[in-house]
Subunit: 362 residues, 2 copies
Amino acid sequence: MNTVVVGGGVIGLATAWRAARQGVSVTVIDPTPAGRTSHVSGGMLPAVNEQLYGRENLRNLCLASRELYPTFVAELEEFAPAGFRRDGVLDVAFDEDALSSLDRQRSFQESLGIRTERLTPEECAELQPAFAPTVGGLLSPDEGAVDPRILNAALLTALDALGGTVVRKRAVRVEDHTVVLDDGDTVAFDRLVLAAGCWTHQIEGFPEHAVPEIRPVKGQILRLHSDPPLVGLATRALSKGRSLLLVPRPTGELVVGSTYEERGYDETATAAGTHDLLTRAAEVVPGVGTLRFAEISAGLRPASPDELPVIGPSTVPDVHLATGHFRMGVQLAPVTAVAMAAFLTDTAPPTQVLPFSPLRFS
Amino acid sequence: MNTVVVGGGVIGLATAWRAARQGVSVTVIDPTPAGRTSHVSGGMLPAVNEQLYGRENLRNLCLASRELYPTFVAELEEFAPAGFRRDGVLDVAFDEDALSSLDRQRSFQESLGIRTERLTPEECAELQPAFAPTVGGLLSPDEGAVDPRILNAALLTALDALGGTVVRKRAVRVEDHTVVLDDGDTVAFDRLVLAAGCWTHQIEGFPEHAVPEIRPVKGQILRLHSDPPLVGLATRALSKGRSLLLVPRPTGELVVGSTYEERGYDETATAAGTHDLLTRAAEVVPGVGTLRFAEISAGLRPASPDELPVIGPSTVPDVHLATGHFRMGVQLAPVTAVAMAAFLTDTAPPTQVLPFSPLRFS
């Protein structure tokens, strides 16, 4: 069985690796593997967020992926380091509204059996002395983050080690179990996975409605650097109804994200996006100004029509979808990849993916 | 006569090229030619600025370099484009204090025979529609800017074409008409030019006081990008007692500079520097937020003890200095290079450089 995966972001690469691991012959097609949205992502792995309230299926999917992450990483690290850490995620509140939302989050997490610890302003200050004064916080000691750049590199290494192939070209259309590339070359497949994020529905050759339109939602993200690191824990800072993510890396990198912009296929990192993130970062961490400016970049989050992931067989025989992960691609990569490998080997996928079938759009 | 120039910034490269042009055998030593301060510089070429008031010698030096620029560029462009334009420099005022300083500048320029045109707020708006409302402006139609990256590349090309050599290593010390490099290699010279900016006095082997200490003054500079360009003319925006330089390039690049920081040998581009320049740019050009963020970088301006250039023979036989150009390296490159080539060929330099002899520090 020759399987082709169109799209070499974290979802496509993780799917390809898990399939290769189960003996499937895999080819990934992407002009810049691990080079777009997955390269820009901050990689924070919170237990829950407000997007999960009242969305039981998505919550179950997230919890399944959270459960799978350590094993997924351990198996991947047989090939290369994955950049995963589970040393806690901190939520800090800078106003009373934010504090209320932390209380709600705490109840929600505890109802799911996820450990949390309510912190006083003094405890927040002790834990993160670089922060501006908070009104309180929430520590989730079993959560963490992954460095998507390290994770993607590990996936490419692992895929290569298992005999998988990466074709660095753009897939233009599909006809008769064949993918046609932008230079006219073709790659035949028995089974196909479309995992090209917000570019998925641009691949031609499918009947109408078989592939839902995936809307790009731009996010700009900032990378600063200091040695030693200024911030220790992956943090979500809540203030004025907005949240800012701060993801420190052991290297001294501090990822600050992100903006949320509806601008079509525009991947431009702008002056305004940079200014906004720098301003908000300085509100949370007043000393951030001395940090080295390392990078500003923008990625396009893939949003399906209902803004939920699209995972599984499509209405087109032998064509599967794995896209629409919106803000949760890195977070949902393990469960998506395990599920896709199951579909590709005709075994049973984790039941949590079943509500996310592409068939809901037909 | 074998001449060695230590330092491959705009001053060292221009000196080397002019000397090579006059038949001198030249070797430039620099681990990263055209890679430090000269690479970061904005390249604005204003007729005058407030630093020239009451400093007749510096004013004469600037005017001499201004006079030389077109010929210098024309001769350089026999080898490669130099990125020079003289399509006008605009000064705009955002408050009454700034407007007074423009009036003073106008009188000063006119006393020197440099054309200026006083602009109303309406005329400023017509000339630069992207600007926030001003209280008035000054157009100097005969001034302009140069792209230092293009200029430096042209100098390297021209030097190479004339048989000059560039050794990409660091000069550590000088002994017995020999420069010792960081890998232990040596380069012999008949005559030596030290043109290593704020690193000049770090080269060992000279008697005390022969080489003045050159203080680094950090400047951070921002590069944005749009197509088409948002700003047409090189502009100095005066507001709240500060000035912001905006230098547009034909490519759509918009250089915004710069900070002024006394931080020793620290070339870090910081979050705070970036934030400051973005904030000030948005005050002058409200629509700047949509521009692509292309680069933030930092350079070290070389300031001599009296903050004036140091040009000519030193107290050490066969050792010349060409450094200390502070904020005016790109502006003063032609006159400095022409003078240095004269010194190296035992001909008469432009008289305007004579007050800048290194001997004033002995």
